[in-house]
């Protein structure tokens, strides 16, 4: 939003409540640690110094679902993990979002078999799918930015 540039001599800026809320939601989005497989390595790389997701206010990966508002499902979800994933998702406070990172979380990937969910959208509603096996950190960051666009378009009150 670039608040500094909008500040006049009086140090005052006017905007809508919706803008402020969406700005605060996008720029301090705390993801939950949910590394299930090799995608987690790329997720860690995206967090580390080279790609540095703290530019988007995402330097904190929370281990507790109650403190996070974004779930990055990084890896394949087995049939036994599904209920656990759903339970963690239910424990997250509203508003919450889900990124399915990688092919396995998006559609089952190469694991079309009895043990793996064919896409995590069978368990939790997904906002952004990131393709790749595993996706590079740039791809994950692109996914996060896509989610930011979605959040910025959110309305506080549904218009009828």
């Amino acid at each position: 939003m670039g608040v500094e540039q909008k500040l006049g001599n009086m140090g005052v800026v006017t905007t809508t409540l919706e803008n402020v809320v969406n700005w605060s939601r996008t720029n301090a989005m705390w993801p939950m640690l949910f590394g299930l497989a090799c995608c987690a390595i790329e997720m860690m790389a995206a967090q580390a110094a080279h790609y540095d997701m703290s530019r988007f206010g995402m330097e904190l990966m929370r281990a507790s679902p109650r403190q996070s508002d974004l779930m990055i499902v990084a890896g394949r979800v087995s049939k036994k993990m599904g209920p656990v994933l759903r339970r963690l998702y239910d424990q997250m406070p509203e508003p919450k979002w889900v990124i399915a990172m990688g092919d396995c979380a998006s559609c089952g990937g190469v694991f079309n078999n009895y043990a793996i969910y064919q896409g995590v959208d069978e368990v939790v509603p997904v906002d952004v799918f990131v393709a790749g096996c595993p996706p590079r950190p740039e791809a994950l960051i692109h996914g996060v930015l896509t989610l930011h666009e979605k959040v910025n378009a959110m309305k506080l009150v549904e218009k009828k």
């Binding site: 049939k79 036994k80 209920p83 759903r86 559609c107 079309n112 043990a115 959208d121 509603p125």
Partner: protein, 170 residues
């Protein structure tokens, strides 16, 4: 095959009529289901096979009948020997006496066989699935179990399959 295995195989043949096979230097004895406990006990107590290093099964459906072979891989640490016992098991109602009283490792191995092949073990102390979640239907390692459950979506049938997909609700 190891020379020192020969008297053991001869012993198994005399006591239980076990047929003997050899594959790439590894000894296999095919034992009937009613003799398996006695054979395992004999090997453990007399021939020093202290370790049941693996217990698994093979599904030969549809070529062979009976379709299952339950395989006991035994190791003798004292004599540095290993050998296999195989028990053919019928596919209609696969049942075997449990080996848990002879080798304690068999408890989890047999739970896995129950889970993956649906082979029941009489007298098993804890007959539950071990890998798949409770309420799973079927036994995944059987040859007649479907390979995958997701249908590939193409442009011509995308919507039709999409309607059937189990999407999560909020």
């Amino acid at each position: 095959m190891e020379k020192s295995l020969e008297p053991i195989i001869k012993d198994l043949h005399e006591k239980f009529g076990a047929a003997h096979e050899e594959f790439r230097g590894e000894a296999q004895c095919i034992v009937k289901a009613e003799h398996i406990l006695a054979a395992l006990t004999l090997l453990r107590d007399t021939h020093h096979f202290e370790l049941l290093s693996s217990q698994t099964a093979v599904d030969y459906y549809p070529q062979t009948s009976p379709r299952f072979h339950v395989v006991y891989q035994l190791t003798s640490i004292e004599k540095n020997l290993s050998m296999q016992l195989r028990v053919p098991v019928n596919g209609d109602q696969p049942r075997l006496p449990t080996a848990a009283n002879v080798y304690k490792t068999a408890v989890w191995r047999e739970r896995e066989l129950l889970d993956m092949f649906g082979i029941e073990f009489e007298g098993h102390p804890d007959p539950r699935r071990i890998l798949m979640p409770e309420g799973t239907e079927g036994h995944p390692l059987r040859k007649d179990f479907p390979l995958g459950y997701e249908e590939p979506q193409f442009t011509f049938n995308y919507k039709e399959i999409d309607l059937r997909k189990p999407y999560a609700k909020e």
